[in-house]
Each structure stands twice: as C-alpha cells, then as structure tokens.
C-alpha cells in the first residue's frame, strides 16, 4: 500500500482522494474545515438569496468510506524529510499532494479587512456571501462597486458574473435607476481577453453596468468611501467588494525554493509535480501553473495526478472552462496552454449547462468514475483546437 497524504479537501483534494483505488492506496485528507465549500455558490447566495447550506457539505460525507479524514490545520510541510506537521500531529507519507487552495490576503490592501467586516463579500466563503446579501438588501441608492486588487484571482470571470447578477438583483428590487453597478478591472478591456471582452461589452452596456478599465485597487478609504487605484484614479462607493490579493500557502514549506514570490508552489505545468521532487504534487489554486485559478483546473489536475500515481503518463493541457453568466444567458471561457480564449457566444443553452454543472457538483466529487467519462466527452467536443477560430 502506498501512503498518500492530501493537504486540503477542497475541489481538487476531494476529487483526487476519491479517484485513488482503495486496494492500492492508503489515503488521508487533512483539512482545517469540517465543511467542504462550493465557492461558486457564493454568487448565488450573495446575489440571488440562496440558502448557504446548499453550497456546504461535511467533507467526511463527500469522501469515500475508506479514506481517512484528519480535521486539523497544517503548520508545515518538509518535502526532504517527507513530513507534515499539523497543530496536533506529525505525519509521514510516500506521496504528498498539496491542494490547500489560494490564501486570500485581505490585509495587503489597506481598508480591505474593514470593508469585508462591514459588507461581507463573495470570495471568502458562504457566511460572508450571506452577509453581502443582507447588505445589498438594505442598499437604497448609490454605487455598488466590484473591484480587483490584483490581476491574478480565482475564477477570472467572477467580477463580471457579480456585476451581471447584482444588476439583475437591483432591477428586481426596483432600484435600477437608483443604484449604479460599477466594475473596476486592472485590464485594458471589460475582460482580460479581448475576444471575450468584445462579446460581453454590449451586454454590460445594455445592463447599464459602468466599466472602469486599468483600475487596480491600491487602497480603500472607508471613512470617505473611496477606492484608489494603483494607476492613480478613484471611485466613490456606497457598498463595495474588493477581490483581495491571492497568494500560495501561508504555512511553511521546506525547501523554501519551491514557493515563488507570491508563495505559489512551483510545479511542472503538465504533470503537476512539485519542482525537484518525484513524490510531491500540487494541484488547484495553490500552484504557479500559468492558467486560470478555477475548479475545472483543480479537477483536471486531480485526474492527472491520480493517473500518474497509478503509473500512467497523464498530462494536463491547461484547459479552462470558466463560466460567465449574464441575465439569463451564459458562456464558457475556453482556453489551454497553447490557445488563448476562443470566441464563445452567449446563449441560453450554455447557461443551462452551467446550471447543470452546479447541480451535479456534489455527485461529480463523490462519484468521479461515473462523471469522468461524461466530462471527458464534453472537454473533447469543446477542445479549443477543435473549436478553432470560429469558436462555439
């Protein structure tokens, strides 16, 4: 039996654990939280008033019965000694997979923690998403601002999704004339890829959403309700969400060189192997792989690592499939290491597909063998190479 320890039971870690055959692997998952959280649900909690319980499940129930779950916080990882220290234990391994996600550093931008505590947000978790919903229910007029502190953050289309969904929310409350939704982004256009930007700009205009380009948050003055950008501009807000600076694991990892400037774990982008090690992998939001920080990435990297641990030469292509939702329609941002996002038009069908992905999330984690072939067919049919310039 090979002893595999998986650090973190989020989107990536839980799927990887469930994919490893029990007759070959002795699997332990360590997570500091008892509940697994489906982060995309934050949007539906905050802007559509869904109950937060719908998007949380005890991790223990999501993992297959033979998998050990250790509810504890990881303090350090020593790759040379093959040792993990948690608050309460020391654990050794044959193989380790780091899947602790991105660390959200609210303190890096002055005023951001205060903003979070006052209004809530839709990045840190379901509780804060529910808080944001309450804040928005109480809003009567003024600017609702969604801004970004750094160009690298989870789910690249999430600011736009927030803008579309909140605009619909205010319209429903009869506040379309009184509340203005403002989207402030570090990019030259309404989305980091020009191709996608050209597709969504008319929709943003139709919804009356104001877009500020080249706006990267530098600091927040919570007293005078102003957000300042690194580029030298400012925006007034009544309520604001500032997507915080993301980083790799906070806990110590030895040797220190495996982390980059932003603490991300340096990996081989195809195999997910930690640089310089054959018995250590990292998947999902905690790595420096040059692709989107998304659940799809974490999922596909988990499949790659599961195959590699079983002796196959599997590789991850960098494929993304981030959904962007507008008022009733949707599209997917489809790209990989060799192809920038292909043009994908907005349609009702894609919105339905996204709703299906959300509805089947828990089953896809619990029963990956059933869902793997179905997703595989979808990913093959929508491979950026297959779709080409013409897109979908």
């Amino acid at each position: 039996m090979k002893k595999v320890v998986i650090l973190g039971g989020g989107g990536g870690g839980a799927i990887l654990a469930n994919l490893l055959p029990k007759d070959e692997f002795d699997v332990t998952v360590i997570d500091k939280k008892e509940n697994h959280v489906f982060l995309p649900g934050n949007l539906f909690i905050a802007f559509m008033g869904h109950k937060k319980e719908r998007y949380m499940k005890p991790l223990k129930e999501l993992l297959k019965p033979h998998i050990k779950f250790l509810h504890d916080e990881i303090i350090s990882l020593d790759l040379n000694e093959r040792k993990i220290k948690t608050k309460g234990k020391e654990i050794e391994y044959d193989y380790v997979a780091i899947a602790t996600g991105a660390h959200l550093d609210y303190d890096a931008i002055s005023g951001n923690t205060e903003l979070l505590n006052k209004f809530g947000d839709y990045y840190s978790g379901p509780e804060n998403a529910a808080k944001l919903h309450n804040t928005l229910m109480g809003m009567k007029e003024g600017n609702f601002v969604i801004a970004v502190a750094d160009p690298i953050y989870m789910c690249p289309p999430a600011p736009q999704k927030g803008a579309f969904l909140s605009s619909k929310f205010f319209a429903k409350r009869g506040l379309k004339e009184k509340v203005k939704v403002i989207l402030a982004l570090p990019f030259p256009h309404a989305y980091s890829s020009k191709v996608i930007s050209d597709i969504i700009e008319p929709e943003l205009r139709k919804e009356g959403i104001e877009v500020h380009t080249f706006f990267t948050v530098d600091s927040i003055d919570t007293k005078n309700k102003k957000i300042f950008s690194v580029e030298g501009e400012e925006i007034n807000y009544e309520v604001a969400v500032v997507i915080p600076i993301h980083e790799g694991p906070e806990y110590e990892v030895k040797p220190a060189e495996v982390k980059d400037d932003s603490n991300y774990i340096k990996i081989d982008k195809y195999t997910s192997k930690v640089e310089g090690f054959d018995d250590a992998y990292a998947i999902g939001d905690c790595t420096n792989a040059p692709t989107s920080k998304s659940g799809v990435t974490a999922h596909l990297q988990a499949e790659t690592v599961a195959s590699r641990l079983q002796g196959f030469d599997a590789k991850y292509s960098g494929r993304t499939n981030c959904p962007l939702l507008t008022n009733g329609t949707g599209l997917f941002i489809i790209s990989d290491y060799d192809h920038p996002p292909v043009p994908v038009k907005l349609s009702k069908f894609k919105r339905l597909m996204e709703d299906l992905f959300v509805a089947t999330y828990w089953d896809a984690i619990r029963y990956p063998e059933l869902w793997e072939p179905i997703f595989k067919a979808y990913f093959e049919a929508t491979n950026p190479e297959v779709l080409g310039k013409e897109g979908w």
């Binding site: 349609s347 069908f349 063998e369 059933l370 072939p373 179905i374 595989k376 067919a377 979808y378 049919a381």
Partner: protein, 118 residues
C-alpha cells in the same frame, strides 16, 4: 426491525414503497436490472457520452432557441415565390444570411457524406 420501519411510515409512504417494490420486481423479472447493471460501466458511459456530446450536437443545442424562435415567426401561410420573386428576395439581407447558413450546412453535410461513402 423491518416492521418497526414500516410502522413509522405514513400511509402515503407505504403505498409509494409498495408500488416501487412492485416496479423493481418487474424490472428484475424482465432482466432489466441485470442489463442496466452491466451497462453501467465507464466504457459504456464514455461511449454514449461522446456520441451525444460532440461538436455538432453542442452547436445544435446552442442554436435551438434561435431556431425555435424563428420557426415561431414564420407566417402560417407563407406567400408563394416564383423564379423572379426569388431573385428579388435574394436582395433581402435576412434572406442572404439564412441562405448562407443553409449553404454552409449543405457543404459540410456533403463533405460528411462523401467521407462516409468513400
């Protein structure tokens, strides 16, 4: 044990349970349960998925609402169009776009047929 479980069920639930059991028995007698069991293999699901989920079906489904909407807008009794009328109609940009779509469809259909038969 089983009787205790039954006691706790409401009348409606007992009724539903009986019907479900009856249904399962039928499925079993006909061999459908065995067949389904054997069909639920990753290879079969994968094969079925890639048959249903491919570039063509995904494009079709993506356009279903446009197609259905335009079908709904076709008048109940479209007017007759003769050869000369057709030439006139061809100047209409909407007709041009529709025709372009149909021709592109015919071209790729022709291509697919050629490779099927050669």
């Amino acid at each position: 044990m089983a009787s205790k479980v039954l006691e706790e069920l409401s009348e409606n639930e007992t009724d539903a349970l009986k019907k479900t059991l009856c249904f399962l028995m039928k499925l079993n007698e006909m061999g459908i349960l065995d067949t389904l069991n054997h069909l639920l293999e990753p290879e079969v699901i994968g094969g079925l998925s890639s048959l249903i989920l491919n570039k063509g079906t995904l494009k079709l489904l993506d356009n279903v609402d446009t197609l259905l909407k335009s079908l709904g807008e076709v008048p109940k009794e479209p007017k007759e169009v003769g050869v000369f009328g057709l030439l006139g109609e061809l100047r209409d940009p909407d007709v041009k776009r529709g025709l372009g779509f149909v021709i592109a469809l015919l071209r790729s259909l022709g291509k697919a047929l050629k490779s099927n038969f050669s």
